[in-house]
């Protein structure tokens, strides 16, 4: 594998696959990428809709690795906090961090993916093939079977190594599962809730109809609406709602009248910005929200799963893309170790990485409950106020769970989760017991929180808990 002329086949030219192709191209490997969709730089495959994503420090670390952070910055719309909307239309901005330089960004999936493809193709040793769908992988022979959507022919490609970055529905992961050649641990877990994309269109002048630099949330306990800004003045709006339970659910929102009634009752201020609601609602699909975990990611030194193919997560921490980009950073670090063979590379990579992708999967589900429910809960709001004050006044000494996960790209998700959860538990319990309150002396609160957090972690360690 020290021979840079080795042939690496990448399945999938989405965000993770195109970044991986770029990085492996930079490192000098011969890289062939096969993507089932047409080239998104040439064909408008999202039918006029630019779907946006949250982009933050872990993702940006990967952009720095490949040297395109300034190009990416031009695609970003900073979101400094959550803009909460209550039923009366009152709004409240809750910053993501007490430190001004810490914010997340809204970015267009298509624009970013296109940039990565263009950068990857600048390398002579990188070739990208579109309209070629992977049907299965023979992981013992290190070959992949593709179908060419243009010619309708099937063909087999051979490589020294195959890396599948073909997303949550990965064909290679399916081959692992159905092959039964090794013990493959696998889970797919669906939430009771699904989602549907809607939109707030720009003003006639191309401006934003509501505050641009925030992630808007309409939390309603058992369901919620969110909106992220796009560069063209529009917002992509997403409704998260139970599939079949509750007074309103995707199962019974079946007529324009009921949909309008639901929005009028629950999201009246949003409805005013969405004259196109009913059309959007019935044109766009209702999609499922699932988490995928599996292990092992690799078969010997032949094949490896990366990105969503290895660990698909729900979107509530805004970390799906960031985690997949971080995969490439971590994989690159392992390549730097100059290990003897691909099996050692894959084993080392999975051993160090899996605990972190498991953690962000669990954190994303935590945040589902926090966003739809806790953000409107008084004790959680008090906690948030204290944490903002601690971050503002002791920027070097305190980071909330959200900050640890989102803005501390030099610690892993697992460490962020353990510390962040212990901090949350410490603050919530001290608030409940009256040991601290929002008007207390901050330095004193900081010391108590640190002490209590350490005590919680120590108690868990002694009890043999993870």
């Amino acid at each position: 594998m020290k021979d840079k002329k080795q042939n690496i086949l990448i399945i999938g030219a989405g965000l993770c696959g195109s970044l991986l192709a770029l990085r492996l191209g930079q490192r000098g490997y011969n890289v062939s990428v096969y993507e089932m969709r047409p080239d998104l730089r040439k064909v408008d495959i999202s039918a006029g809709r630019s779907i946006n994503l949250a982009f933050s420090d872990r993702g940006n670390k990967a952009m720095k690795l490949v040297g395109i952070e300034y190009k990416v910055k031009e695609l970003c719309i900073p979101m400094n906090g959550r803009m909460l909307h209550d039923k009366e239309g009152n709004t409240f901005l809750s910053n993501y961090s007490g430190r001004d330089h810490e914010y997340i960004n809204s970015i267009s999936r298509g624009e970013l993916n296109g940039l990565l493809l263009t950068e990857a193709e600048k390398h002579e040793n990188v070739t990208i093939h579109f309209n070629k769908k992977c049907k299965s992988v023979d992981f013992e022979k290190t070959t992949a079977l593709f179908k060419d959507y243009n010619t309708k022919h099937e063909f087999v490609e051979d490589a020294d190594v195959i890396i599948a970055t073909d997303g949550a529905g990965s064909a290679m992961r399916k081959s692992y599962y159905l092959g039964k050649k090794f013990l493959f641990s696998f889970s797919q877990d669906y939430l009771t809730h699904g989602y549907k994309e809607l939109s707030i269109l720009p003003t006639k002048e191309g401006g934003y109809k509501t505050y641009k630099n925030a992630l808007h949330i309409w939390p309603r306990g058992d369901f919620m609406l969110i909106a992220l800004p796009n560069l063209d003045g529009s917002f992509t709006v997403t409704l998260f709602l139970n599939h079949s339970d509750g007074e309103y659910n995707f199962g019974n929102l079946t007529t324009p009248e009921i949909v309008t009634e639901f929005f009028k009752k629950e999201f009246p201020d949003a409805l005013k910005l969405m004259p196109n609601l009913v059309d959007d609602f019935f044109e766009n699909p209702t999609a499922a929200l699932g988490t995928v975990k599996c292990s092992p990611w690799h078969f010997k030194g032949n094949t490896l799963l990366m990105g969503d193919a290895a660990h698909a997560i729900v979107p509530f921490y805004g970390q799906g893309m960031n985690a997949s980009f971080e995969d490439v950073v971590e994989f690159d670090k392992v390549l730097d170790q100059n290990l003897d063979n691909w099996e050692a590379v894959f084993t080392t990579y999975e051993k160090s990485r899996k605990k972190d992708t498991d953690a962000i999967a669990d954190l994303a589900i935590d945040n589902f409950h926090e966003m739809k429910d806790h953000v409107a809960n008084p004790i959680f709001q008090e906690k948030r106020k204290i944490e903002m004050a601690l971050e503002k006044n002791f920027p070097e000494e305190y980071s909330s769970k959200y900050s640890l996960v989102t803005f501390n790209e030099n610690i892993g998700y697992k460490e962020a989760m353990l510390k962040g959860r212990a901090q949350d538990k410490a603050i919530l319990n001290m608030l409940a017991d009256g040991e601290i309150d929002v008007n207390g002396e901050l330095k004193n609160i900081l010391e108590k929180v640190k002490q209590q957090t350490e005590a919680i972690l120590e108690d868990d360690r002694i009890a043999g808990l993870k």
Copy 2:
């Protein structure tokens, strides 16, 4: 469904299926059972090996429900505790409970299954068909496709309701998964360890070569050997060992010499009782240890998964069979509610039951670590001593996690898990902090443990943790 003449098709006549057939037969339903294996009462399908299982109070509650607890008692060998064996061959008996009437039993899977089949067949409205393997289930049409192993023909059976009790490799669960007609959450998780069955044969006189009334354990940190007694004087011995890591593992135990060396070094006292070790080792398969969870168990009012088909667990809590039997008890309780239709029955059953089968799955993995490792760890041993003393002296006031899970059949696994884990954490931390010790005044220890357990549960509740 109030019409008792409804036809219920049960797939699988193992422990759960035969108990379910018996109970539904008692309730007056028309029950047809299809089993892929031959009738185990007529054919010796385990090649002379009677595999035994741990049978305890939750399982016995089910036997009482169907009125055969006295017949089952005759098949039981009480095991009062764990007999721990160190490397020097020293033994130490650690009781399962401080209350004398609380113990578990070793029971033959084949004998118990045979008894349940015979009891079920006493009902005219119950028919059991052997050698008929279910290949798939059409859950929308409520039909199942079978292959007759004798005639080699395939045939389809129709029913009002299909209940699959066809074990960890359930054909109906596979149909749910592959059908993609609804969102099916599913996980299969393998441990790094596998297992292999071995044996200690009886003495020439048919007696037991080591102490009969215990579950023997040779804990060695990263692996272990256990042995359970059979009625014929033999013990079934099981080696739990890593598949591929560690100095010795299933991957490198490839010659009689290495196997003997391994046992001589790690289990010398067991080796003396096992002259047949090498033959057993190379004749018997190495099997995987996996956990299966899924949801939903039912499709509308048509089909339902029960027992291992719905929730396969690792064997370390001795609760696999007991949990499957408890499924039938809980299902029977729901039938008593006289709900309007099968969909309401299935929904109600899964809603109340799933949290408990999820909990025992997690507890069984906890106990894997406890058995191979913690039982030989000083602080865990001190905890165990304190708990034994508390149970002995305050039998009405204290039950350890093990007792809550094993001997308290009137609380669910979830409740047992939450309380039991909090107790463990309380005791371990108070021992580590010197707040209690094994020579302390017991009444005082009891109060401290109760108080601290409640505080731990309350802290978790405030933090929104489960």
